[in-house]
Amino acid sequence: MFEQPVIAFENVTKTFGNVHAVVDNNLAVKAGEFLSILGPSGCGKTTSLRMMAGFEQPSSGAVSIQGQNMTGVPAFLRPVNMVFQHYALFPHLNVADNVSYGLRQRRPKPADAELAKSVADALEMVRLSGYEKRRSYELSGGQQQRVALARALINRPAVLLLDEPLAALDRKLRREMQIELQNLQRNLGITFLLVTHDQEEALSMSDRVCVMREGRIVQIGSPRELYDKPINSYVAGFVGKANFFVGPKADTVLCVRPELLEISATRKTLPQGLADAFDVTVLNRIFLGEHTEYLVRHESLGDFTVLSPRKSEHASGVFDIGDKAAVGWHKSAAQILTTT
């Protein structure tokens, strides 16, 4: 059966003066999924989100939400909610009034008791029970973030739009919030659309990832698809780590993931059945706990990285800077990708 997308972009283009922020994009967000838009700063992620929320109108093309064309529909009439990058909590209202803001715009206005109940539930959901009377500026960054989430989710939007919501948090808190966001999304069944420039975040949280570059969508797929079958070297380089070698034709490269490379003291001690093997010199070593990352040099291939798992170190050995070693890969590990 044909399933209607919650949000659809049809040939959406947005230009600011002569800046092409979003170029001819088609995108269908599926109901109930966790979709991330991934790309470097300035590639048009925020602009895409703002066109969904209704803060920007496309220069051409159409945005539709739940099958309704949103052309000319102002933000306050759209059934989506946004978590802003810097939270945008109202400083003159306490936490409860911030969270109930959306419900209080409904006509007829819900009764006070009903509002209080909804607020209590929403705050419990983000583990902030009892913070009703606090002012937003008395809260920590992580707490403000959760208030912003509660304020959006209390309205049960068709889609929750999140613009780099974790960028301002420190590393440990970010990890916690990633898990919390995923749990919320699964428990509520609300479609989440998250914008991020952090590939690890996109890969670890999403059902699907949409990779953007200079205003265009390059590839959409599950994290595994993007990682295993990137359509070009841009996606391969952006999603996970990759080594690129000169390809067989012009505008192509040979791409091998560092963890798919085998390393050993000599060619003879390398595992059997490798497609290729090379003698290299170890330039650098970084201990990463479960892996060791080596930067190695081959006289014609150049410099590249090898990830050696701790588990196989007894077989492959440990190398010091300046050591000679042998590196090889299985045929299936190498992919030929276009560079455009």
Binding site: F55, A75, F76, M82, F90, P91, H92, Q105, R106, Y137
Partner: protein
């Protein structure tokens, strides 16, 4: 340097201190201290002329503050959407109306009013046998002229510092444009509007020069003080002066506190 500063402050505040001090003098002569007393206060505020002047001043200051707060805020909000040349011209006009000396505003509004009266009064007289002349409303109009610029500047500073995404967040949460204005923009501007109201009230209440030109036969408190001083400074006048001084000071302090507190909240937020 310190001595110099002390001398300057002495020079500035000694006359004021004298007035405040002698308003509590039991005796009649300024230079003859007879002990502490509030007698001159009760005398001043049972003088019907002074009371009438006080009421006139309060009406003028109240109306000026109210109109300046409303018009000044609307001006600031309107200027938000104006850009380019028009904006530059309006900005310049606003600054000018604050910097122009009171005497210039006084004379020019007087001339403007007189010209206006000369133009419309013959017509009004022939049509309905009435005419318009100087009164409380001309004073209010002249006061609003520069006080609305004060309010406008205060509100604009606040608007400029306001986070645009707060307005977007409100729209995102289903508030109509009017709802956003009422629930987000206005509350965030309120400290500035209130401070502007209090400043306008003070400026209008203690203004002598502009009022002197356009008041017609009306007597405000500063004008009363001025005209009675020509007959010699009485302790009664000292008492009136002290009341004006202290209430102005109080309003200015409140305005300052309001502005600083809202500053702090804005800073704590970001």
């Amino acid at each position: 340097m310190r001595i110099y500063a002390t001398l300057v402050y002495l020079f500035l505040y000694f006359p004021i201190a004298l007035i405040v001090g002698f308003s509590f003098n039991a005796g009649k002569y300024a230079m003859d201290w007879q002990g502490f007393s509030l007698a001159w206060y009760s005398k001043a505020f049972s003088n019907p002329l002074i009371l009438q002047a006080l009421i006139t001043s309060l009406i003028i200051a109240g109306m000026t503050a109210l109109l300046s707060a409303i018009i000044g805020t609307m001006t600031a909000l309107g200027l938000e959407r104006v850009t380019g040349r028009t904006r530059t011209i309006f900005d310049a006009l606003i600054y000018i109306s604050i910097m122009v000396p009171g005497i210039v505003i006084g004379i020019s509004t007087l001339i403007a009013f007189v010209t206006l009266f000369n133009m419309v009064n013959p017509l009004l007289l022939s049509l309905w046998n009435i005419k318009i002349e100087m009164g409380i409303w001309t004073v209010i109009a002249a006061h609003v002229l520069f006080n609305l610029a004060v309010v406008c500047l205060l509100v604009r500073a606040r608007l400029t510092g306001m986070d645009r995404s707060l307005v977007e967040a409100s729209e995102d949460l289903y508030a109509t444009p009017m709802g956003t204005f009422r629930q987000v923009v206005l509350p965030l501007l309120m400290p500035s509007i209130l401070a502007g109201f209090l400043l306008s009230f003070t400026f209008s209440f203690e203004d002598f020069i502009i009022t002197f030109f356009v008041a017609g036969p009306n007597v405000t408190l500063p004008i009363y003080v001025f005209s009675s001083i020509r007959r010699g400074v009485t302790p009664e006048i000292n008492a009136v002066g002290t009341v004006v001084l202290l209430s102005s000071l109080l309003l200015l302090v409140i305005a300052q506190v309001i502005l600083q507190r809202s500053e702090k909240i804005a800073v704590a937020k970001s």
